[in-house]
Symmetry: C2
Subunit: 374 residues, 2 copies
Amino acid sequence: MRFAVAHVDGATGARTGEITTSRGVVRTPVFMPVATRGAIRALPFRDIIEMGFEVVLANTYHLYIRPGTLLLDKAGGLHNFMNFHRPVLTDSGGFQVFSLSSLCTPTDDGVEFKSHLDGSRHFFTPEKVLDIQKSIGSDIMMVLDQCTAYPVEMDNARRAVSRTLNWAERSFRRWRDAFDCDRQALFAIVQGSVYPELRVECARRLTEMDFPGFAIGGLSVGEPKDLYREITAVTLEHLPPEKPRYMMGVGSPMEILDAIACGVDMFDCVMPTRIARNGTLYTSAGRVNIRSSAYEEDFSPLDAACGCYVCRTYSKAYLRHIYRMGEIAALIYNTYHNLYFMKQFMNEIRTAIDAGAFSEIYNKWAALYGNNGG
Amino acid sequence: MRFAVAHVDGATGARTGEITTSRGVVRTPVFMPVATRGAIRALPFRDIIEMGFEVVLANTYHLYIRPGTLLLDKAGGLHNFMNFHRPVLTDSGGFQVFSLSSLCTPTDDGVEFKSHLDGSRHFFTPEKVLDIQKSIGSDIMMVLDQCTAYPVEMDNARRAVSRTLNWAERSFRRWRDAFDCDRQALFAIVQGSVYPELRVECARRLTEMDFPGFAIGGLSVGEPKDLYREITAVTLEHLPPEKPRYMMGVGSPMEILDAIACGVDMFDCVMPTRIARNGTLYTSAGRVNIRSSAYEEDFSPLDAACGCYVCRTYSKAYLRHIYRMGEIAALIYNTYHNLYFMKQFMNEIRTAIDAGAFSEIYNKWAALYGNNGG
């Protein structure tokens, strides 16, 4: 994996670049649709390809539980299994172990947990989650980290950082010794909750190792927006500018713009697809709740400025009708539109950065999406 | 609407033909996907167009309840509302009133019922369901009929036929007097349960009126297969061969083949999409239950002989995995495949009839689908 910065905005930290993997080039800043278990929720993969997404995210924890590494090995990896041959990034499963499993006991060696599906007991170590990601065959792998909820006391956050650093060292050694490092890159994860000194310490210590990329974990978990921006900025100051930066599990249009302004390159989030299934749609005029009776007789397109086939084909009145009737087609159309929106949104941001117009774009979207968390 | 028979099979009553409507030509025998509320369940309309379906069915009862005729009038009819401009057939709502609504009181004048959604009271008359279908703008409308369950005593079936005939006369007059008969055709419905003399009487009386087409209602509702075939055959003997015949709510591959052998031209059924959502898939080798553990490590296509994009793209192991995980994408892929199968199935039947090879095709499918009800 190689990364090259193309342009850096004069007024902010926003930048464009390219990640080159053996399965293709990813232009950054990039939004990665989430295919947790090897499928995009409520959308065929061919729509993802048609929209031009260059990379998707899958989940190590979920794929380990089902279908499991034995099956993935037999299938020749996740790309072959789901027949999608563009780059795939996998998170480490750390976040899911700490948030989904019914029992979770971290030790210095790793973390024991119970499957959320059948209650079976499992043990993840930094080495094991890499081996799982080898079976998955992801192009970009993530290290196992210890996640903390928000809020968390500083002592607990410090212990999580300490363990995250120790696990990162073990991950780095395993990766260097046992992986085709050119084919499967490994990113470290900065933790430290909302404590700047912990974030700085974590970023500096991780940077001492030659990871191909760095992620910020544990943000956008309930902290105030000011803290989100402050912690993002201070963390990035201590990460090497020549490496890609990935904000995990983020997010809304404004969270993405705020992070891009600090110099973040990569994003993933279930929000666009999840809110789509709840009837909330991103448009060039702000958010639309398609369930609203305001649209009962509105035969105009969902977003006249959007080129997606849903906006070219259906009215708000129709989309509202089929959503209210519980039609699965409504979930498909809503999901299609929101992901198409995210793709165009990122395209517009990259074009603006390259043209030196990031601040204008930022202000445009802030006026539309700034007040409601967008 | 015009109908022309092209070829009639030498050994059976099977025939090909063309229905010409102002919105396009429908080659028969035809299977009509069901868009009850103006959406195909679990599939975007563009896939229906891509597969080449020439006509879909929508439901008068459901569209009357939601979104209602006021909205359909404002939308300029259902075609504009759902932006699908090929022919649409609407059933009359009779079947739904008698099967779905919580209270249903038929009188000679019409039928009072409570909405299954909100319990509100409504009254359908033969004239009113035509007026609703005028708001819908369907290319082929159906008369209101009185449906009977199976089994039903002959006296009750006779009373239902009597009322169905009376309502058909009123429907014919309303249609002739108040409709653009070239743009919106009207089909009568033969009732009579499994009593040949009632079916014959109903068919003969309806034929005395110059309906553009005739439907068979009240079959495939639980009666033995022999009775299904016998009643279909005896009914068709008393329907004019120059008019299209439509078997309502049918069905499985073998039910369709049996009816085609008697001379039926049109079919609709939710079965292909409903069983798809339940994991049952039609293939050229018989039915496949994709949930089966037999497919856990089966990396071959669902149906290697099928040209649909699901079969060209995904393995049985992958389809099983995402179905088990509850992914909506599994419902989409399964639905796509089963409807594609139905389209190819009908294409093959038409080609065989034109080539004088219907019996071979019938026997081929009977060997694959005859034993399990297909």
